[in-house]
Symmetry: C2
């Protein structure tokens, strides 16, 4: 491994430059005006695999393409499937970025750009680690398959179909994903639980067009008031979600799990300072760690109605809408939640208002077993790369594909995150710590060897 | 009067063209990018008065200028003060206009443009009626003063100071304002009551920037949820406003008043069809007519938070804000309402949220006495102009200056509206019925003679 490690050290600066090239492509999958940019990012990734001599294909979908590549030159060794995504979240609000989102900028040892950690930077570590093996040992010590998609930030709409219709091609012993975080700076982690998600948009329509609030106010249901009342009714003062049946399938946290959460080196004062709030809040009876990773939640993601310009406009708006989402814990079924929500919203909708509920995407939560030889192998690789054994944690975000891999391919996923909690993923000024980028590549390079040693 | 009437008939088409010139100026007072346009509209109006030989002045204010003009050539005759405004509401949402808001377009006997009725078109009728007298009789039969401002749509911020410091100049026997509506098409009205207004913007801030709703959701107060809950708490299911003391100064409607409301020729089915709702709603225990003109109300005018673009973004927004307003009835004090609201919002604000309440503008409601000789004179003029005696009604909108005139100058106001309820004021596709434009000019021309005959 010393050749590999030396190669990584020597070529590190070039790896950063290559990552910057990818980060300059505004591959915003949610925004149809960026359709060509998303494809360009996919082609860039495919070019990397071709450069390593991998069998590479850009697989078309009705949406953005999937990049698939494989190197199967080690008969008898296990096969690892690496999943990642080359699309990014929208950069809004643009005016809050210190430097433009698609002009990667180094500051204080970090690289700032949309997608720096989520997921271009993290995904790229598993490509550069492969390069190091090929350029030094001539080949990888293990069989690898890469599945890099362009629709993760819009709900991976066409991924499940692709996996279901390519089961043989994707057959593998274990999946590796780097799209999560370390527990804290210098505290690497293996994430063994993820929340699911059910994301909706509620559109209310009242009068057929905006009205003068003086002449009509008081006699017509105001859609923005109806929206406020309906949303307010979805969660009570104790932070409990008010959709009938919502908690039916929520597993109670065991004493053992709660002890583990309490044992994590979490600094609540630092957490509050990091995000700039003077109080943490949430569901009564649970700690911040439990609330943000192991309990289901309700969040409003966007509100739109009426006049939003400068000054005052005395309008009674024709429409009001909200984007909102529930984070789900394992065993909660997004489809069941959607049906219960729809029934509840219909009940809450006042006279004079027409309701439309759009489902943007849904995915169940997942918990992966910790007692596997692959987890032990990953822990050893992390110790090599980060100089410290990982902690084991659950993460509040969602990576829907993890449960798809379990269901369709029968394999578990290693969630090995190089990011940090304050990386501003999905927010302005997203960043990736450059030292962690290089530690991630080193860990990945060791991971290929450690996984190869597992008896399959 | 036959000379005057003949002149009006002959020059009617030119009056329409002149009005179109004024409507082409996008004098949106709320939008600072239109500052120069607002001034241009004021100068255009001043040019009209200069053309009639009136003593004319463009009076500067810290905001948009006030146009003042007078013609005092009839010693012994009463003096009438005409108030109007040359600024307009913002045209948003632009994509709902059938033809552009600042390209006046004739369709089905109507003239479509922002400001067509509110208030450029209506205000202009009192200029053209003066022209007809001057061009035929050589002079007006009465003394006139015109006060035409450019900040009505943003709360007339500098008007009260102007009136208070120009009391002698503005001294008059009666005020005339045409900025209201007929009761219905072909049913002209004298409006004797107006609602007041208190308009606010509530800005909530949670975390210092947008967060990933997966990683942080559940552990931090979501400002958009806080906003929904606070707004929802301001009005109950019976349409009663939940601000302590809000109804303290609300006068109970008398049986006589309720009988008058019930006697108005109001078509509720037609009203629902006009605005496109399948149900009318509002404060329990009151009729639609009472709700929209004689009862106080709460309306949300705008909502803003988080991601409002296409598709889904899993963001926990840093901020959420709402523009909202109360319509007030006479005797309710906007300042008292503001203080009570502020206290209530502070009480409702959850931990983890910082609150800012901006007061955009406030004005009390007003009721003017019906038993005056000026009202009788106006009724006769309307019969000449519209061929039918007016009904007497209260209007739900606010014209704050009416109570200022009462307080500062000690005079009452004649509210003579030529508009219609479906003119889409403050909404896309604002219009003015061209026949009513001409009827308004004719009524105004007769009004000068009728008012001149009142013994002061």
């Amino acid at each position: 491994m010393s050749d590999v490690d030396q190669y990584l050290q020597q070529h590190g600066p070039r790896f950063e430059e290559e990552l910057c090239d990818l980060l300059r492509i505004p591959s915003v999958s949610a925004d149809s005006t960026h359709k060509a940019d998303v494809r360009r990012a996919g082609e860039w990734v495919a070019g990397q695999f071709r450069g390593l001599g991998f069998k590479t294909e850009i697989c078309e979908t009705p949406g953005h393409p999937i990049v698939y590549a494989e190197s199967l030159g080690v008969p008898g060794a296990p096969t690892v499937l690496v999943y990642g995504h080359y699309d990014v979240q929208p950069p809004d609000p643009l005016n809050e970025w210190k430097t433009p989102p698609f002009e990667p900028t180094r500051r204080d040892g970090n690289l700032y750009a949309r997608g720096a950690t989520d997921d271009k930077g993290q995904m790229f570590t598993h490509i550069k680690s492969a390069e190091a093996w090929i350029k030094t040992a001539g080949k990888l010590p293990i069989n690898v398959k890469y599945l890099i998609e362009g629709e993760e930030e819009v709900g991976s709409e066409h991924l499940e179909h692709f996996i279901a219709t390519n089961k043989d091609r994707l057959k593998s012993d274990v999946v590796v994903i780097s799209d999560t975080s370390q527990f804290a700076a210098g505290v690497p982690a293996i994430t063994y639980g993820l929340r699911g998600i059910a994301y909706f948009e509620l559109k209310l329509t009242g009068p057929k067009q905006d009205l003068h609030s003086g002449s009509f106010g008081g006699a017509v249901t105001n859609p923005a008031i109806a929206l406020s009342k309906m949303l307010a009714a979805l969660i009570d003062a104790d932070g409990r979600i008010q959709v009938p049946g919502f908690y039916d399938d929520v597993t109670t946290l065991t004493d053992e799990e709660r002890k583990q959460f309490a044992a994590l080196p979490f600094d609540e004062a630092g957490f509050k300072k990091q995000i700039g709030v003077d109080a943490v809040t949430g569901e009564q009876g649970f700690t911040t760690q439990e609330r943000k990773s192991a309990r289901p939640t309700f969040d409003i993601n966007g509100l739109t109605s009426g006049y939003q310009g400068e000054g005052a406009k005395t309008v009674l708006p024709a429409r009001a809408s909200a984007k909102f989402s529930f984070r789900l814990v394992p065993k909660q079924d997004p489809k069941k939640i959607q049906a219960a929500l729809e029934a509840q919203l219909k009940k809450l909708c006042p006279p004079g208002i027409r309701l439309e509920l759009v489902s943007h995407h849904g995915a169940p939560g997942v918990v992966v077993p910790l007692d596997s030889p692959y987890v032990a192998a990953a822990a050893r690789a992390i110790e090599h790369g980060f100089g410290r054994a990982p902690v084991y944690m659950r993460e509040g975000g969602s990576i829907p594909v993890v449960s798809t891999f379990r269901q369709q391919l029968g394999v578990d996923t290693l969630l090995l995150g190089w990011g940090l909690d304050d990386d501003n993923t999905h927010s302005p000024n997203e960043k990736f710590c450059l030292a962690d980028f290089h530690r991630g590549i080193r860990t990945s390079a060791h991971l290929w060897k450690e996984l190869a040693a597992v008896k399959s």
